[in-house]
Homo-oligomer: 219 residues x 8
Amino acid sequence: LEFAEFQIDWDRERRTGLPEAALCQGKTPAQIGGIVAAARAKGRRLLLTRLCVAAHAALADEVRDTLDYDPLSATAVFGGEIPVAESGIGIVAAGTSDLTVAREAARTLAFMGHQADIIADVGVAGLWRLTSRLEQLRGFRVLIAVAGMEGALFSVLAGLVEAPVVAVPTSVGYGVAKGGRVALLSALASCAPGVVVVNIDNGFGAAAAAIKMLRVTRV
Amino acid sequence: LEFAEFQIDWDRERRTGLPEAALCQGKTPAQIGGIVAAARAKGRRLLLTRLCVAAHAALADEVRDTLDYDPLSATAVFGGEIPVAESGIGIVAAGTSDLTVAREAARTLAFMGHQADIIADVGVAGLWRLTSRLEQLRGFRVLIAVAGMEGALFSVLAGLVEAPVVAVPTSVGYGVAKGGRVALLSALASCAPGVVVVNIDNGFGAAAAAIKMLRVTRV
Amino acid sequence: LEFAEFQIDWDRERRTGLPEAALCQGKTPAQIGGIVAAARAKGRRLLLTRLCVAAHAALADEVRDTLDYDPLSATAVFGGEIPVAESGIGIVAAGTSDLTVAREAARTLAFMGHQADIIADVGVAGLWRLTSRLEQLRGFRVLIAVAGMEGALFSVLAGLVEAPVVAVPTSVGYGVAKGGRVALLSALASCAPGVVVVNIDNGFGAAAAAIKMLRVTRV
Amino acid sequence: LEFAEFQIDWDRERRTGLPEAALCQGKTPAQIGGIVAAARAKGRRLLLTRLCVAAHAALADEVRDTLDYDPLSATAVFGGEIPVAESGIGIVAAGTSDLTVAREAARTLAFMGHQADIIADVGVAGLWRLTSRLEQLRGFRVLIAVAGMEGALFSVLAGLVEAPVVAVPTSVGYGVAKGGRVALLSALASCAPGVVVVNIDNGFGAAAAAIKMLRVTRV
Amino acid sequence: LEFAEFQIDWDRERRTGLPEAALCQGKTPAQIGGIVAAARAKGRRLLLTRLCVAAHAALADEVRDTLDYDPLSATAVFGGEIPVAESGIGIVAAGTSDLTVAREAARTLAFMGHQADIIADVGVAGLWRLTSRLEQLRGFRVLIAVAGMEGALFSVLAGLVEAPVVAVPTSVGYGVAKGGRVALLSALASCAPGVVVVNIDNGFGAAAAAIKMLRVTRV
Amino acid sequence: LEFAEFQIDWDRERRTGLPEAALCQGKTPAQIGGIVAAARAKGRRLLLTRLCVAAHAALADEVRDTLDYDPLSATAVFGGEIPVAESGIGIVAAGTSDLTVAREAARTLAFMGHQADIIADVGVAGLWRLTSRLEQLRGFRVLIAVAGMEGALFSVLAGLVEAPVVAVPTSVGYGVAKGGRVALLSALASCAPGVVVVNIDNGFGAAAAAIKMLRVTRV
Amino acid sequence: LEFAEFQIDWDRERRTGLPEAALCQGKTPAQIGGIVAAARAKGRRLLLTRLCVAAHAALADEVRDTLDYDPLSATAVFGGEIPVAESGIGIVAAGTSDLTVAREAARTLAFMGHQADIIADVGVAGLWRLTSRLEQLRGFRVLIAVAGMEGALFSVLAGLVEAPVVAVPTSVGYGVAKGGRVALLSALASCAPGVVVVNIDNGFGAAAAAIKMLRVTRV
Amino acid sequence: LEFAEFQIDWDRERRTGLPEAALCQGKTPAQIGGIVAAARAKGRRLLLTRLCVAAHAALADEVRDTLDYDPLSATAVFGGEIPVAESGIGIVAAGTSDLTVAREAARTLAFMGHQADIIADVGVAGLWRLTSRLEQLRGFRVLIAVAGMEGALFSVLAGLVEAPVVAVPTSVGYGVAKGGRVALLSALASCAPGVVVVNIDNGFGAAAAAIKMLRVTRV
């Protein structure tokens, strides 16, 4: 069984403005090592996502040593940092437990050169935490909202600001909320127009969408 | 096939404080007529719920003429009104479409002697509609919250008031929200403690629970 | 039972850049008439969505006569047209059956002053229909993609263009695809980064999001 | 990435009568430690829920030593006990396996100053276990019913007593009952009016609701 | 397209003790007519189930005239009655709305020569309706229990009697209970051992199973 | 709103060996008429599927008159018949109610020039109906199996023959089987290797797959 | 928190003919130990189910030593064996993996004094394994059928024999069959009348039902 | 409890052209050992599937030593290799993570004497990876397509080639895509006719179907 296990879409950035990233969940250490080697050979930087602590530890030493790893967000960067600039993207997280996903978004943005603020622990059960920061929130050009459980944050936030709101439901919760289904459905059924949604726990995708939105320049 | 089709639980009010009501959905006109006749024979008042316009029209004339019917809430009362008194129960409805369910709750409360206010169209996409009435909302001893779509109202409201919040998800919505599932799950997964939930569109059950709560007197 | 059935969020446009629209599904003719009357009294234009042919016919004559109604998209406009300008928003529909939703998006955009092109019947089973128009597709600043069945269009399109792609799954399909669930899940699970999703059949929401994106100007 | 990871809603008790509690599931040991430190700095007591044995063991020693931990209910209290008084709240558990959730409710009540009795192992398959205690059950002002599997207890109990019944479905069960879905649906679909429901395994929420109900004093 | 549309399993009674019946839902009037004609040609009696009022009316006159039709249970018998004998099978129905299914069971039993009693409207919300008839219930050799909504009847009944309990969940209910899913799951997850379950609304199948059980004679 | 509503994939037959067909469900009469007109203009034959009796009746007369319509399978053919030849494809239907789907497959095959036999009413509850025809069944080169309810036919048949078995689950059934989900899952979970599955009620797709299989010639 | 953790329903056998058994899943070692102690104190035998190998190992030595444990079925018996007699109950298992559940049924029967044969590995993909044993199968008075995956065994078997068939779906399978859902649905939707169903993996319940059926003696 | 735990269907190859394979998931090491011993006694080769690394390690040494094991695909072969010949079957995998399933298919084909190429990492987000190999893809007589996440590959591929496409959805993905459900539904709802589907992760079944298709020789 001889064949090329992967053919990285190096051309993606040219076509879509977003470079390919490596989703590590479900890949063997050898496969991840191979992808990193391909990036090195090509002289490209590479973002690795969903690389959990155990998977990171299982990598070959020579692979792991080349990575800048952040365990909370389970992301790693190959190829070093680039300078970041303030982007106008704000990341709002409902609870402390949502920070892993919020950080995946922030790390993705930083990989692409965008600095983004995280505003954490502003769940709607204590509405003042949100309304007291309204000025700040209205200053962002794009908002990424990260919430699990019932995801009421998405609708409340979108009713208060002009910026597009990218909702990232998280798998934080138990009982009916286990796995993030309720937050996802809440975001999709939002009574506030203009909320757009990505997959559960997909901080990477939200960051990608936010970057695309920054480029929609009105001529 | 000879047998008694129904044996009404006339004793229920003594045991639980709530009289039996007749859920008309799924019953034939003859069966509904028989239940009303039993109430008349027993000298009891009776509440009929989920009696849609077509089912009401299909009743025998002598049955229909004895009923006080409200088409919007699909409820009917046999046996006349009783005086109502202000109860301290407030009914909050997220949208105009939720009024059918809100009225089922109000009609049930009135049947039991409780006057309740309805505060309509206060969905969280326009948060001011809710916050501008905070004083009024905080004055209620029990709140029934009625909402479809993503049901964010439940969490926001419960984070603002001291009264118990009985959430009634409604089947208002389309796409993922069709049938009321998202509002139901949102209520159950609420990040605001103390929200309790009844079945989708169950304004009757919410009113019954609210009445029970009024009776929880601290000695 | 005396209370105000609706309190329109006239302030929404100032806060979020998007005026409130009236979702007619689940509302009685009298309720819709009341909302239109409120708009007239306030001197505001109003968009009505999900007003099916039967509901439109059931409106009072004096209400219906003031509306510009489009049966295919089930939308109506009160208050007349405003001039539209080319917006840079493209609407791509996978099949002929998806046009009802595509038109809801187009009508919403027109109500807000944006002219948008519809590119219809470009399902991926005949990939040439999409690839032969790549130039045109790459010219848009925001793309709304409308597809039912398995929704493969979302991923293929997003892999080819730089613009953000707002996916609108539609309820077109049968068997497992009935109700739009598969297209929705496909959009959320897309392997192409940067796809964002709205509720099934929610052409209105996609248009609202697209308008928000147009306003994300990089200073 | 510098930002405040949590901003505790210390004001919640004043607004809603219930202090914020820390849901530990999904939080890192460092995050939990930070929350406890914030409580200490503020001079507040704090309830921690869903702190499983492994998570408790992973806490820093100086955090763990300040906590009163109960492994069966996975709850911990920071800040010491307060005197408890008999509250009139009864907790009824269908099976031995439901005791973890019943104890979460009891611990929450105790944290708030309420003593509550647990009546365990009264599943309806042996109806006498319930009916033989009817007198005792009718003496409570609020009942918390805890059951997994098919949750028939909720309906049977609510048909026998005047007090409000807060149903807590539990994840006890296998096959179709796995995860608590059947007990949840049973509670929501109960034929006995006045049953209200909280999320699966949410003993904390049931206690919070019960406390709110105790405060509904008829003047 | 020439072929035999049906080949009735006339041999089934010999093999399994139960004759084939014709499920009419989803069949055209011509197909139903053909099956009846085949029975006539073969000189066999035939039971038709799920023949709703409209489908019965759409049959050719010469077919319809040969049938003994019962609209409430949507069953018809071709070939006339046979003498029935007391069977020891009891049918217990939770609510009036469950009678359509209970009667399908009773009609099936009668078709096979078994007389069965129906005990109606004994939902557990009024437990006395069940417990006051305990003597009668314990006299049956097989019990068919018919219930919708949350189906608590199944567990309560099975905990009280020695006979096997065949649970028939019904599609009676709304919200989460719509379509009978909750009653079905409740029956399957019952905490009372020895409950066996058939498909939703399958009164025919329950009767078939009960007849099989009568034949399990201990030698 | 000016644009081409459809662009038929006339090239599909060259690429894939299968011409495009028009799925009529969800299309307006005007849209169907336009597609037929396009076929006429192009001089092509066209198959229309899921054209129910009401939709067929709603077509413009000049469109309807050009179609060869079969109401049972809800299919229509534009452009006349072509000669058919025996194909070696057998269609096996579990019940009489499954014939609508079986005929959709047969009509699709005939449109493509393939004559196929239908073997009807061979559900496994009467196994002899299947085993007595084993010789005939083993003579086919490809088998299309059509079944609703629990779909046991798929596994039994695939365990007896050498030909590939294309399973078409149908929406025939009630209760848990409503909509065809159980038959679909049964086909996918089959313990007999080599069963392949298409969407519920998708007789057209099964025929298309069968034709593709006929072309897999071993050189 | 002082209360009795369990009150065993020792009276159950008198009422229902079946003694209470202890479902060990979800119980702590201390709770299981307490239940065994209660049985010893009462002088009763006791069956323990779903006692997995790890839970058995975690029991206190003095508890574990009193139990007759069978790891494959995860059952244990306290109080010693009783003589068993041939019962006429046959247990048919579709695959080798279904034997854990089949043995739970056999162990339950043995605990109650009934000897039962297991006929293993007779899945319908090799139909001859079933048909070659038809004589033997027809000799049983009650059949327990145990199958996972698509559960076609239930329908095929029930179409061949006169005895009642108790279907036990198992969680054997992967993909759509994971957890036993497909086998469960197949059993419920069976086209063969007279199949009755218990919960997934519930060999205990099937044995309980079979014993009840043996007692249905026709006088 | 004495009985034969398995009776292998050695006759299957004669009937269906495919030998029985042993699905190891859910079997004990002793059971797997017994099956291998039966094959040795019978002088047959045997394929074992879903034998994960831990299960392989748990086998008795004398069993394990006779197996040719491949950890990535979790397959083992007993009885040695046979010569393979080029088959005309191509296996296309969307991502690197799908290779475990693709290899299960390839190993199954090799066991049966068929050499198959794997074309890996051709997800549609980088469409060029697919279109640049169109010539190669069109050269295959049967295509097995392996994809997780949203499974758009199935539709795109089937629209480009003449060969039958056997879709194997994989459990690769997270959030809504977890477990493979979205890829499965996408394959079933595909807008490209002629796609046939097997269970999630069922590379074995896809290979079995492909082999059956190779035998459909047009005479």
